[in-house]
Amino acid sequence: MRFRTGISNVALLHKITRSLAALARSCVIRLSPDQVHFIVPGNESSTGVQVWSQVKVATLFDAYKIESNANNEIWVELHLDSLLKVLRSADSSVGSITESKSTAALTESDVTLKLNKKGQQPIWAFEIRGYTAQRKPMSITHEIPVKILSPKRQAELNEPLCPQPDIHVVLPNLLELRNIVSRLSHLADDVKVSANHEGRLELTAKSSRVNLTTTWNELNVPTANSNEEEQPLPPPDHMFTVSVAIKGFLKFLTSHLVGGTAIACICEDHCLIAYVYIGELNEAGGVLTFFIPAKITDD
């Protein structure tokens, strides 16, 4: 079992990790020769939100080498906190755009990641190399313990099965949405998310004192490309609705850090699925998929 890679986009990996860390304490990373999957199973987070994402290797890594006896795949489980600490350090050393004035920034820096063993404990070793402002070579190494997942454990991790979504809708700016939803959280526990084929999206929070509905119009509704003939199209103004916990919804919205286009799918009375694309939609470097379970309400 060998794994060694350079991290070409530290900032993005940092952002993805931050979004996931808002959700759960640990996550599973499935490394395969051309894709990296970040997985947060449902039992990890208190709200039942799951993440099943795949990112192309080239989006994050370069000089990527992986070998194993199981289709050249390695599954590791790690604590997001420790990963976050390492990436924060790496991000400031590399001097990404957001922290360009960081004094810790090194020049000509690169970050590599290796799977090692320390005694019986498998570890991920990050090495940050570069030159200080005084042109002195510098190297920083971080090691975090990881757990290699057995094939049995791997088989237990299954992506949730969902019915064909009732509607897809491109979400408005996630940051804007996050700000609004965080204010709704002061008023109610659940939010009703509804959308129709006219591009209308509604968020409704209900409490004993106030009903509050925020509406967006003229959003893009991508048409589903499969089984269009089988089902008659619903009337365009029919609202498809799902109720979710605001807490869970907010956790997904932390992914505004990743900053891509997001599409929400409503499976009525089942779940809300949100896809957050990394990079442009058509040449997506990857997608983070959030499953937010529905709450069944009386009305």
Partner: protein
């Protein structure tokens, strides 16, 4: 009646900040009672028998204000908390000019000089990222069809952005005490800049339980010189006794804080005091004034001979206020504590 079908109230504005600011000033309880009249809104919050806060909200804060008087008085109780949350749904009605805070319900005790009223730290990051100095305003249309109907508020950020509708439950109001202040029975009447009082409230020790207001009329006998006091400090005390002064005294576990306001022209706009006045108030009630003072310009403080206190806080005038008008006044009334000694 001919206008049976017309809503009792339709009020519109293109910037909710002034409206939200007034409501937040009296946001000391979840529920408030709103009374609508030709002149605007009077929103009252009452803490049983101890404290009464009223926000007088004039029509000039709205671009349009239509009131069709119903047969019964247009009064209802509603959730003030929820309305404030709604007004700030797009983050443009926060407590600071940079629109930060959302739920400033939790009042933080701070020491002087710790900077202006902050807000939810949690939200700060998002506001900074999201706004980038862009001036965005939330417009509002408020409608109330009459007794038994919800109060409907429609909010929008800009023409293309999202819109929010709020339906606030209204209930029949509980009876208000709203003790009237008797202008003829006045013992103290003073007007000064809000800043002076706001700074004083910053300085109150967190442990204090009792605030005492003392006013002495001009030409009081000069107090005996304190042993150990400097020449200039004795001089100042002499001057204050000469012109008259207002004093705030806070007693806490760690000592007494005393703030003096001499009746000088740069301090007092008006100072009417015939004889010495001394009354104490519950400091937790007095401290509630702090939030109300935010962004205000002047205060008018009046005390009845019985010790009943009335503080009126004036908001900065806008262009539509007209001669003799105002752009919102907050009024706090509270009774004095019984003297222990």
């Amino acid at each position: 009646m001919a206008n049976q079908d017309l809503p009792v109230l339709v009020a519109e504005t293109n910037d909710v900040r002034a409206f939200a600011r007034l409501l937040r000033g009296i946001g000391l309880k979840h529920n408030a009672v709103m009374e609508i009249s030709e002149a605007g809104f009077a929103v009252t919050v009452e803490e049983v028998r101890t404290l009464c806060a009223i926000a007088w909200i004039p029509t000039n804060l709205f671009t349009s204000f239509t009131y069709n008087p119903p047969p019964t008085p247009a009064t209802f109780e509603f959730s003030l908390d929820s309305l404030l949350q709604c007004l700030n749904i797009f983050g443009n009605a926060g407590s600071t000019s940079t629109n930060v805070s959302t739920s400033s319900v939790k009042s933080k005790r701070r020491w002087a000089g710790e900077g202006e009223v902050g807000g939810d730290e949690e939200n700060e990051e998002y506001v900074v990222n999201g706004r980038k100095g862009k001036e965005r305003r939330t417009g509002m249309r408020m409608e109330w069809r009459g007794l038994g109907y919800d109060l409907n508020v429609l909010l929008s950020d800009d023409s293309r952005g999202p819109t929010t509708t709020c339906e606030l439950r209204t209930v029949e109001p509980e009876e208000l005490m709203n003790a009237q202040f008797d202008q003829d029975d006045m013992a103290l009447y003073l007007i000064m800049k809000s800043e002076w009082l706001r700074d004083a409230l910053f300085d109150l020790p967190p442990s204090c339980t009792r605030i005492t207001l003392i006013a002495t009329p001009p030409k009081a006998p000069i107090p005996p010189e304190q042993p150990g006091a400097t020449f200039s400090s004795n001089g100042r005390r002499g001057h204050r006794a000469e012109v008259g002064q207002f004093k705030i005294l806070a007693e806490g576990d760690f000592g007494i804080t005393e703030l003096d306001y001499p009746n000088d022209r740069e301090v007092m706009d008006k100072f009417d005091c015939a004889e010495k006045v001394k009354f104490s108030y519950n400091s937790s009630h007095f401290a509630l004034l702090h939030r109300a003072l935010h962004q205000s310009v002047k205060i008018c403080l009046q005390i009845e001979k019985s010790g009943f206190l009335c503080v009126q806080i004036m908001m900065p005038l806008n262009n539509n206020a007209g001669v003799g008008g105002h752009s919102g006044i907050l009024e706090f009334k509270m009774h004095a504590l019984e003297e222990d000694d």
